[in-house]
């Protein structure tokens, strides 16, 4: 019996790799086109990444060809008044003959101790593996709300923020930049001003199921300061969503949300984290859900 050693390298992805990476991902994730992956990789190439962290992720190469990939999205975020780095561990695929090398990708990506890692789209079959890698669930499901039925903040002033909008009073510089940035990705960025003068930012994106092929009359909350803000501004948000023919608001949740009419399910929406900071619910900004689409 003889064995042929396979020399497989684990390297950081560079911009010259992205065409081949898109081919590999299209091959690995059936139902997602090559264009879908290319659009996301181009966005990853253009976005701001904190210094010292990889831009795209890691690739396994055999004879110079990609045979495995793990995408990562590092973001510097202002978390409870202190700057922290968060990393969304996204699409992980390795060609079957090289599956034994898959842990090398995870080890490379998860080596930063001060970083909070999140996995926002874990397939049910991967939950045990994700937990073995030291991740814990921070969100168990989704809440499908009908915000227009809420009596709160119907008289609120709702402003949509575009990529070229002028600054809005009451928002921090970072929040305003985040709203504009996500508007450029095609998200709906809103600022709700309550009658008492308080201003709250929200980012929403169309909610789709079945690999993004079926669009529901729903928008998913991608960013809010706190779930409490959504409850207080629900009437205003609901009225705005009706104009887009999307009466349903989808939110990260661990149970029914007091003050909102709707339905909670654990069947979808589990999310994991690992690291020093517990991620807030409904903060999915700069994740694959935005850059690649749901």
């Amino acid at each position: 019996m003889s064995f042929t050693a396979r020399h497989v390298e684990c390297l950081e992805i560079v911009s010259g790799d992205i065409d081949a990476i898109a081919d590999l991902l299209a091959r690995g994730f059936t139902g997602r086109s090559r264009d879908y992956w290319m659009q996301g990789l181009i966005r990853q190439g253009e976005r701001e990444v904190p210094a010292g962290y990889p831009r795209y992720g890691y690739v396994l190469k055999h004879d110079g060809k990609p045979v495995g990939v793990l995408l990562v999205l590092f973001t510097a975020t202002d978390f409870r008044d202190k700057m922290t780095v968060r990393c969304n561990v996204a699409s992980w695929y390795v060609d079957p003959p090289f599956r034994g090398h898959a842990p090398r990708l995870a080890r490379s990506a998860l080596r930063f101790e001060d970083v909070t890692y999140i996995n926002v789209t874990p397939a049910v079959s991967t939950w045990p593996l994700v937990e073995k890698l030291g991740f814990s669930a921070y969100c168990n499901g989704l809440f499908f709300a009908l915000p227009a039925l809420s009596r709160t903040a119907r008289a609120a002033e709702v402003t949509a923020v575009a990529a070229d909008s002028a600054p809005i009073e009451g928002l921090s510089e970072g929040e305003f930049k985040l709203l504009k940035h996500h508007a450029s990705y095609g998200c709906l960025s809103l600022v709700v001003q309550l009658p008492d003068g308080e201003v709250s930012p929200f980012i929403l994106t169309p909610y789709r199921v079945r690999h993004g092929t079926i669009a529901l009359p729903a928008m998913q909350m991608i960013f809010c300061r706190r779930i409490d803000d959504v409850v207080r501004c629900a009437g205003g948000i609901g009225k705005t969503l009706l104009r887009y023919a999307k009466p349903i608001l989808v939110l990260d949740a661990n149970g029914p949300i007091q003050g909102l009419v709707g339905y909670y399910t654990k069947a979808r929406g589990r999310k994991y984290f690992r690291g020093p900071e517990l991620p807030p619910l409904a903060d999915l900004a700069e994740t694959e859900l935005v850059l690649y689409g749901i």
């Binding site: 409870r80 008044d81 814990s136 669930a137 921070y138 168990n140 706190r226 779930i227 409490d228 409850v231 949740a253 661990n254 149970g255 949300i257 007091q258 003050g259 517990l278 619910l281």
Partner: protein
């Protein structure tokens, strides 16, 4: 707090063991809803009390206790045993204004604490139940579904201590009982009050009707050999207004591998206990947020304005300086 009358502390411990003869014949199983050992009139009363709990839940159970108190005056003194889970029995006076809420199987007592303690079933720790009343949490924590932990319950009131001891002895695993209040230092104090759930040593009136009770400090538990300095502990503090005193009496314990579950009452709109933990201790503070259904770290007390909705209810905050417990708190979810 009344000044300690002496520095002497005499712990009163009861032997553990089964005492089936102490189980009240009138029994209610919360899981199945079945009632045994009851007359027709008692069955009707239990169902009415359960309906009363569910109805009064709409206004934060206001008035339910008063109705129970009136009812108790008309009934002969009697106990009821409630099966909390397959391995936990709790005895208390029938039609008790506080514990009768357990007669509604839908009612969950301090759901936030239950979520946390259930999530800790797989780890080894000692449960220190300070202000244990009749021992609800000690009974549960020492039961199988909660990991059958070692529990020590502290209760200064003679009346509640009798029930506590009874509950320790009727359960399979049992727990240790100590007749003592918690304070900033060891001594003796005057316990006053009219309701068993709100008896306190926090008054200044030495002539008020009540009883003299021994006081111990949290760190006294190490000195008394009840716990070792490096023992992993969950400390539940429900000491009716003396939470800050109790915290001040435990610098060694609080710097160790422990987490404190501390009451911050809904009537205190200044959130004094939480504020104290944030500003005077090195512990991180967490509170179960009903909106996110998980424990959120508090860096200031503003979130408590929203979370503490009812002035007649006790709320709990969790405080720890241990990285291990911090991780377990963050992982606790329904």
């Amino acid at each position: 707090m009344s000044p300690p009358e002496s520095r002497g502390y005499v712990p009163l411990s009861l032997p553990l063991g089964k005492a089936a003869d102490q189980i009240a014949p009138l029994q209610f199983d919360r899981q199945s809803g079945t009632i045994t050992g009851a007359s027709t009139a008692q069955i009707i009363l239990i169902r009415l009390l359960a309906a009363g709990v569910r109805l009064s839940a709409h206004w934060s159970y206001r008035g339910f206790g008063t109705v129970c108190t009136l009812l108790r005056r008309m009934l002969p003194p009697q106990q009821i045993t409630v099966r909390l889970n397959a391995d936990a029995l709790l005895c208390f006076p029938f039609a008790d204004g506080y514990w009768s809420a357990l007669l509604d199987p839908e009612f969950v007592y301090e759901a936030d604490i239950e979520i946390f303690l259930r999530g800790c079933a797989d780890i080894n720790y000692t449960f220190l139940d300070c202000g244990a009343n009749c021992g609800y949490w000690s009974v549960l924590v020492s039961s199988d579904p909660f990991g059958a932990k070692r529990a020590i319950a502290f209760e200064p009131s003679s009346q509640s201590f009798y029930l506590l001891s009874q509950n320790a002895s009727i359960n399979r695993t049992g727990f240790q009982c100590q007749k003592s209040a918690l304070g900033s230092m060891a001594g003796v104090a005057r316990l006053t009050g009219s309701k068993h759930e709100s008896l306190t040593i926090a008054g200044d009136d030495a002539s008020a009707p009540g009883e003299s009770v021994p006081v111990m400090a949290l760190d006294g538990m190490i000195e008394e050999g009840l716990v070792t300095p490096d023992e992993r502990c969950v400390i539940k503090l429900d000491v009716e207004g003396l939470e800050i005193d109790a915290l001040e009496g435990g610098p060694r314990m609080l710097n160790g591998d422990c987490v404190v579950i501390c009451e911050d009452h809904g009537s205190d709109r200044q959130h004094t206990v939480s504020r104290h933990i944030l500003t005077r201790t090195v512990m991180k503070l967490f509170c179960f947020d009903p909106l996110t259904q998980r424990y959120e770290q508090l860096t200031d007390v503003s979130a408590l304005d929203r979370i503490k909705r009812f002035r007649n209810r006790g709320y709990n905050v969790l405080a720890t300086s241990s990285a291990f417990w911090e991780q377990r708190i963050r992982a606790a979810m329904p």
